[in-house]
């Protein structure tokens, strides 16, 4: 059984927040899904290597040479707030105490 506290902890890890009225139904749904996923514990995987990626796992090499693709202007085209050709974001340090 997944607790509400666990869900809130995971939400914090994922940089997500939920309204109070959403949390309970989310806890309920996630609990059911995690329960389903827990059935895997019945499979004996002693000595089995995990598969984390597919395809050829050989390391691919290329020449250590810079390739110019997009320009600075192009890279900034989708940025919500640009100031002086730089990406503008809110303060990194919490201002709350100063206000």
């Amino acid at each position: 059984m997944i607790s509400k506290d666990e869900i809130l902890h995971v939400a914090a890890l994922a940089n997500l927040k939920f309204q109070d009225d959403e949390v309970d139904s989310f806890v309920n749904q996630l609990d059911k899904i995690v329960n389903m996923e827990s059935k895997l514990s019945s499979v004996d995987t002693t000595g089995i290597k995990p598969t984390y990626n597919m395809g050829d796992t050989n390391t691919v090499f290329r020449e250590d040479k810079g390739v110019h693709t997009q320009t600075r202007e192009q890279m900034l085209e989708n940025v919500p707030e640009v100031d002086n050709n730089l990406i503008k974001v809110p303060t990194i340090v919490d201002k709350e105490d100063d206000e």
């Binding site: 890890l13 997500l16 927040k17 389903m36 597919m54 050829d56 290329r62 890279m75 085209e77």
Partner: protein, 485 residues
């Protein structure tokens, strides 16, 4: 022109013989899409510049088989200068500054990008109902879903808006909507097609593929988009065959395995009935059909939802409101910018997957969930590989039911996840797999699934082609569209 009755080859002939120009095809195509849009909602964005691009092809002269042919792209494939949303609010204004390799390859072959089709948000879903831009509907019955996540591409093809469309398939997102819409759809081997410029969902499972009414049209398109790409180190360097030229409907001596676990207790009898008929047809064509067992199939959904959600939670970290897409307003600091942009920008299903994945990867759960699922994946891959040592193909139903009603499962995520049980195996094992129409049940299409050996897309195409030539399903007009033409 009625695109439903055309193929890439027939359109090519008309272009070469100057019965129609590429510009007219693009203009007519856009007209057709716009006329259908209110009913079907298959597109998120149409490319109004398509006729202009087509005119340039006319002026240059029609060359290869795809020259001047309009093709639709699922809206999680980035297209320079054309809005790409992944059906999410978080990318509602995203204008890519480069194009996916698959688009560049098709454009180099002269194909025209006619627009971007609807999907479940970030391709997470089986019905298109999680799209921020509204659900698409099924052209066979407007009260039903077209499936998903490539539901817009599938419905667009079935409704004759395009002859072919690209989709992506992470757990069945090409094959399930192909089955629900009575068309062909193929997910190639993992690594067959470059994923460069495809918005990542689960990187060890995602693959781009093709959907069309006719098997031969997907064969033509796949030969163009497949192959190694230096931008995607998981793309294979294996040579790409000319699938279209090598098509053969000769099934004599082909060994087909039918896993008994695919005859899932929850599977609708109409589905089984149509699939059994298709298997009988293969026997008559000289193939052998034998029952095999995939004992770990019962754990496929568990493995898939742990791995796919974990990879998604990692891939979707990049959406933070800083460099592109939706940015929340009135925030105090950068942490709040991240949290609010993500919480306001993602829909419920995407949040659910991010939460599931973050949970499975978190300290304390990692070994029991993520690592365990990756180990069971190894066992499952071995079971599939062993079957394919003795057999050329694995077959079964593509879905457990025909297209379900809009709204029927949207509030029950677990029921929605169980939909994928028959399509997930090919993704977990990285195998090529297709859905080809097997028949109709109560006016709704049923798909046969065909899974092949790694990089043996040809065998999958050939078997699908053999059934297509037997049942000629492509002649059928989607029920709900009848009388509207």
């Amino acid at each position: 022109m009625d695109i439903k009755k055309e193929t890439i080859a027939s359109l090519h002939d008309k272009l070469v013989n100057k019965e129609v120009t590429a510009e007219e095809l693009a203009t007519d195509g856009l007209k057709q899409i716009k006329a259908n849009e209110k009913k079907l909602n298959t597109f998120i964005t149409v490319n109004d510049k398509a006729p202009e691009a087509a005119k340039a092809i006319d002026e240059k002269g029609i060359e290869g088989p795809l020259s001047g042919i309009p093709i639709a792209y699922k809206d999680n494939i980035v297209t320079e200068g054309i809005k790409t949303t992944a059906a999410s609010k978080i990318l509602y204004n995203f204008m890519p500054v480069y194009s996916a390799t698959v688009l560049e390859k098709l454009q180099a072959a002269g194909a025209i990008d006619i627009g971007k089709t609807n999907l479940d948000e970030f391709a997470m879903g089986s019905s298109t109902e999680t799209s921020y831009y509204g659900t698409s509907v099924n052209p066979w019955d407007f009260s039903r879903v077209p499936g998903g996540s490539s539901g817009g591409s599938a419905a667009a093809v079935a409704a004759g808006e395009v002859v072919a469309a690209l989709g992506t398939d992470t757990g069945g997102s090409i094959r399930q909507p192909a089955a629900f819409n009575g068309i062909f759809g193929i997910k190639p081997t993992y690594g067959r097609v470059s994923r460069w410029g495809v918005i990542a969902f689960a990187s060890s499972l995602d693959q781009v593929g093709v959907m069309s009414k006719r098997v031969e049209d997907s064969a033509t398109v796949l030969s163009v988009i497949a192959g190694h790409d230096e931008h995607d180190s998981t793309s294979s360097e294996k040579e790409v065959p000319d699938y279209r030229a090598n098509l053969s409907k000769d099934m004599s001596g082909v060994k087909i395995a039918v896993p008994k676990e695919f005859w899932h207790e929850g599977t609708h009898p109409d589905v089984l009935d149509n699939v059994n008929k298709a298997l009988d047809a293969y026997k008559k064509m000289g193939a052998t059909v034998e029952e095999v067992s995939l004992p770990s199939l019962k754990h496929a959904v568990e493995v898939y939802y742990i791995l796919a959600s974990s990879e998604a939670s990692s891939n979707l970290q990049r959406y933070d409101g800083v460099r592109y897409g939706f940015r929340a307003k009135d925030v105090k600091n950068i942490k709040e910018l991240f949290v609010n942009s993500r919480s306001e920008g993602f829909g419920d299903e995407v949040k659910r997957r991010i939460m599931l994945g973050t949970f499975a990867l978190s300290a304390g759960a990692y070994d029991a969930y993520f690592k365990k699922a990756a180990e069971v994946r190894t066992i499952f891959i071995k079971e599939m590989t062993n079957v394919l040592k003795d057999y050329d193909l694995i077959m079964g139903p593509s879905t457990t039911t025909p297209a379900f009603k809009i709204g029927e499962k949207v509030d029950d995520p677990l029921a929605m996840y169980m939909n994928d049980i028959l399509t997930i195996p090919a993704n977990l094992a990285g195998l090529p797999a297709a859905s080809v129409p097997a028949g109709l049940a109560d006016g709704l299409p049923i798909g046969l699934q065909i899974i092949g050996r790694p990089f043996d897309e040809q065998a999958v195409f050939n078997a699908a082609y053999a059934l297509q030539e037997e049942n000629k399903f492509y002649e059928k007009i989607p029920t709900a569209l009848k009388g509207e033409d």
